[in-house]
Amino acid sequence: MKKEFTKSEYFENRELSWLGFNERILGEARDKKNPLFERLKFLSITASNLDEFFMVRVASLKDMVNAEYCKKGISGMTPQQQLDAIHDRVHKFVGTQYSTWERSLLPGLRQCGLQVIESHEELNEEQARYVDQYFVENVYPVLTPMAVDSSRPFPLIVNKTLNLGALLKKKNEEDTELEFATVQVPAVLQRIIEIPPVKKDVRSVILLEDMIARNMSQLFLSYDVICVHPYRIMRNADLTIDEDEASDLLKEIQKQLKKRQWGEVIRLEIDEKADKRLLKILKREFEIKEDAIYRTSGPLDLTFLMKMYGLEGYEAYKEPVYIPQPVPDLAGKEDIFEAIRERDILLHHPYQTFDPVVDFVRKAAKDSQVLAIKQTLYRVSGNSPIIAALAQAAENGKQVSVLVELKARFDEEHNIVWAKMLERAGCHVIYGLVGLKTHSKITLVVRREEDGIRRYVHLGTGNYNDSTAKLYTDMGLLTCSELIGEDATAVFNMLSGYSEPASWNKLSLAPLWLRERFLSMIRRETDHARNGEAAHIVAKMNSLCDPELIAALYEASAAGVKIDLIIRGICSLKVGIPGISEHISVRSIVGTFLEHSRIYYFLNGGQEEVYLASADWMPRNLDRRVEILFPIEDEHLKKEVMHVLDIQLKDTIKAQMKQPDGTYEKVDRRGKAALSSQIYFMEYAKNQNRQPEDSAHDRVFIPAEPIEGPDDEE
């Protein structure tokens, strides 16, 4: 790496850049051009994103601070400096979240006929009666109130749960000390409860915690309730397994799961109106500092808004549901294997349906010529049809090998259950690799055909998860190319612990050669530019924060390579640094669907190359994960992928450009057509199915062949 491109002032801190991404989503929640209920959804996403950010990133910084580790990041900040900057920015962010809710969304909902009762004092008499009865019948039986006094220690408050804290005073006793009590808002009950409306055409809902707060005195009959306030804590839950020591990875994770809730408290959220005495107790018990306390002016844990989005009705305030379209190359084809033999097939989700991928495994499970199915599974939906098909295949006598990544964040418990299920069905299950997370998405079907062994491969940018495939934009390739087939077999050999092959045909793998591969492709463009040729890189990914790759991009830009980056999330690269990054543009697209595909384009002196990958340009992807980069070589499909990039670069509605100061601004639309790439692709996918095949365009009539008559005429 050349020094001139690696100065710390050339890099933006990744955590702050991530917060910028969450701010862009919040921007969508604030954008009045979006339908009201979609805005609820965006707000909900910012809340769940922030939760995960605290659990993983803040927790990890906390660990570093605790361990007195003060090495600076690429942008030159120590862990403590980063934590301080994060808290500063998140306090402002949370303020914006709640003002969006209180001032914009709540009144908006009332206007469209949904009354969200924020405090039980607003209830009319009929409603109040209903609420109290509902409480007695449905809520009271599952509550576990806990009081704290000298004989009862402070109870365990579970990570991420919503709780009500109260101060109590013994009835009929003057001058006694206030006692603290807490009760968890049960997660098993619906948080939004519909109650009788105040008037016609208006629906009313109340939140569960309000209902409990209203009836708090019923839980502590011999006390007067002085005050009740909801609060919520976040603990350090980053799961770091020492893989060198764990003899059995599986057991270790199961152990860790139980331990996780005991972590240090790193955030406390509480109602801004909370009683100071109550807050003091919480602060003491959780050993938390002032900057980690977030006071809110509305309901805690805004993720419930996703449930509110799901309320029936209000269709006028939601985007119409988009139905993923069939893939034209597979339309009307019974035999998916035959279709793949005809030509490679490109899939673009969620514009096109994920069904072919499920179908691919399902058909393979039943096909008599199939010998083996191999797949890597990272995050799979509960009740996944793919898992069912794999189990079925094993029962049908196929050789089924599945690599189950147990280290997928927060999914371990879930994963272990179905991994065991697969094992019982007779599948060969590999529980991940020591020290590496398997993030690649690859499926291999080995089939014995008339003329020998043929391998069918699916490679993708997204997980084998049929639910997220409706929300995430991803691309995939179905092929029976012999070269890719050989590589796919080699990938699974390596995942089973065998040595890497002498050479690879088409695929590049992390952590082996992927970093080098990307660097050499960037440098190749740099060389082209230096030789005075046109040079262009377009790269679409979720995050960019690898210092070595960023430095290579700076060097390329300095040499004159035009670089267009489409990066949804973190981008530590800074644009517009004179002499360093003047030829680089960075845009982020935040839309209804989560941008998730990774696409890499290199002009390569006219011999254009297009790749798809499971990897972002982050150190973790390139060094600590198994990732696959695969080329799209079919000329027709290459054009399709380049078209996707082209349209994204032309997006003027949802795209935001990164500015030299690190902020993002909507594209300047003067002189440009209004274009939302996601809407474009929805229409494009629909049109592809309408268009008749090329041959039908030919104005040549083909006479039908005479039907062969029976022989008896002779």
Partner: protein
């Protein structure tokens, strides 16, 4: 279905390999999967003489997994072979049994010559250039973990093959103490090699003009790629190699491994390999290094395809075997004219008796070899020539001959003069079975008869005709002007065994010409 799925398992000194092949007459051989597991079995064997329990357990697990992978490709037949690491371990008989019981895999131990033969088979099949290359003097050098195999080809035929027990892993293990103490590691390896090389050169390289050095193995392919970058060349000149070698020594093994793209686990054997290559290049005086892939698995697959008549052989290895035997005979100054005549006579009789002895093509080759080598022992001791011939044959490697076949030939030669040992006596010091014993006796009878017909070693009889009469007599018609008194007198003694075995009485009838 037109294809056969075959798997070859190769348990080597530092790697266990599974290769799965699709065999078909139309498309030939296609590798559909190659699974490599790195484990240094040789480390145990070469250091302690036995393979430890831990490694055996690991091997069993790998082989069990191989069973699963074979199913993934619908493998119908397989061969699993072990080479020197297992062969040289003292506990290998117990070990093979444990492997079979635990994994269901029947692992065979190949003798060195069988192993090399399969290796050459893979070269012959893999390279179209093989025939062309071996026209000129060529040394095929296969550097393995346990040993180095050196074979010389000239004018299309194998001249000699020798095994030097100084493979890379063995060198590394033997010098493991030294490596820590010296900066002249490469020089020490060279010194150790020189000793063996001197003997080899004296005996075998003297008058040979070696043009090409044909190297097989993985490292050389990496080196070739490094020297020639993307160019598709499979030849390195002597100068290119020496330049590379110097760069390697200066840069050091670890840094060079990175440049070559060789993973860490495989790099520790790189230096010993290179030193061996360099020394051999100097000793043979070859100008070119030709790079060919050789692979025991491929050899097993070709061998299988050939036996199942899926593929036709590309190089006649029987000629190699015969040529090697002729070279051995020459070294021990056997009477070439005598053996030539005997060869003709013996084969004529053998072919005539085909339905009677019921033996096949392979046994015919064994008879031929027995003729060629039957009096090589005279070089050592005139009066105990039979025993000496036996000892020489048992100690000489012939590529393409299994250990068992070699023992058959050695015994035929031993029984040529003197008594035929009863099976029980032979079995005391041999693993041969009854069926092989019968082959030995049948062929010995023919050898003796043929030998008797040139008793004088003067080639009085050049051609014979053989007729079977009334199921009891075998008439041998010879066409000669010479006096056959000596042959006639020796005839009863030399035919006694033949009569006993075949129930045919040979009768010699001379048809005087001239």
């Amino acid at each position: 279905m037109a294809c056969t799925m075959f798997a070859a398992i190769d348990v080597g000194s530092y790697e266990v390999n599974l290769k799965i092949y699709e065999l078909s007459a139309r498309k030939g051989i296609r590798v559909v999967n190659h699974v490599r597991h790195r484990m240094e079995l040789g480390k145990d064997t070469y250091a302690t003489g036995r393979i430890g329990t831990e490694l055996v357990d690991e091997l069993c697990n790998v082989l069990l997994d191989f069973q699963r992978i074979m199913k993934e490709f619908g493998v119908e037949d397989y061969r699993a072979c072990a080479t020197s690491a297992v062969r040289e371990s003292k506990n290998h008989i117990v070990l093979l049994d444990r492997i079979r019981l635990k994994t269901g895999i029947y692992l065979e131990v190949l003798s060195n010559s069988e192993q090399r033969f399969l290796g050459y088979k893979s070269i012959a099949f893999n390279s179209d250039r093989f025939q062309e290359i071996i026209e000129k003097g060529t040394a095929i050098i296969d550097v393995g973990g346990g040993s180095i195999q050196l074979s010389l080809y000239d004018k299309d035929n194998l001249v000699t093959t020798q095994n030097i027990r100084l493979g890379t892993l063995r060198l590394r293990e033997r010098l493991s103490d030294v490596a820590k103490r010296t900066v002249r590691y490469a020089a020490v390896i060279e010194e150790l090699l020189n000793n063996e090389m001197r003997t080899y050169r004296k005996l075998y390289l003297k008058d040979r003009n070696i043009r090409n050095m044909l190297l097989v193995g993985n490292y050389i392919q990496y080196i070739n790629k490094y020297i020639h970058k993307d160019r598709d060349v499979d030849q390195i000149t002597k100068e290119e190699f020496i330049t590379f070698y110097d760069e390697f020594i200066q840069t050091g093994q670890d840094a060079m491994a990175v440049r070559l793209g060789i993973s860490n686990e495989n790099s520790t054997l790189l230096l010993p390999t290179l030193v061996i290559y360099k020394r051999l290049l100097e000793e043979t005086g070859a100008e070119n290094v030709v790079i060919l892939g050789m692979d025991l698995g491929d050899g097993l697959a070709f061998d299988y395809a050939e036996r199942k008549k899926i593929l036709k052989p590309r190089h006649n290895f029987e000629n190699d075997i015969l040529e090697a035997a002729r070279n051995i005979a020459k070294r021990y100054h056997t009477n070439r004219n005598h053996t030539q005549v005997m060869e003709r006579i013996a084969l004529t009789i053998y072919d005539k008796l085909r339905t009677i002895h019921g033996l096949g093509k392979r046994e015919r080759l064994l008879l031929q070899l027995s003729v060629l080598l039957h009096d090589c022992g005279k070089y050592i001791n005139m009066s105990q020539s039979a025993q000496c011939s036996y000892d020489i044959i048992m100690a000489t490697e012939v590529i393409g001959l299994s250990h068992m076949e070699r023992e058959i030939v050695a015994n035929i030669v031993r029984f040529n003069s003197g008594n035929v040992m009863p099976f029980e006596e032979l079995a005391v010091s041999s693993l041969l079975e009854r069926s092989e014993y019968i082959t030995i006796v049948k062929l010995t009878a023919i050898l003796r008869l043929a030998n008797g017909l040139d008793r004088s070693h003067k080639q009085k009889i050049k051609e014979i005709k053989v007729n079977i009469k009334d199921n009891h007599t075998m008439q041998i018609l010879v066409d000669t002007a010479e006096d056959l008194t000596l042959e006639q007198s020796a005839f009863p003694e030399k035919t006694e065994l033949f009569e006993e075995i075949y129930s045919l009485k040979p009768v010699l009838k001379a048809k005087k010409t001239g």
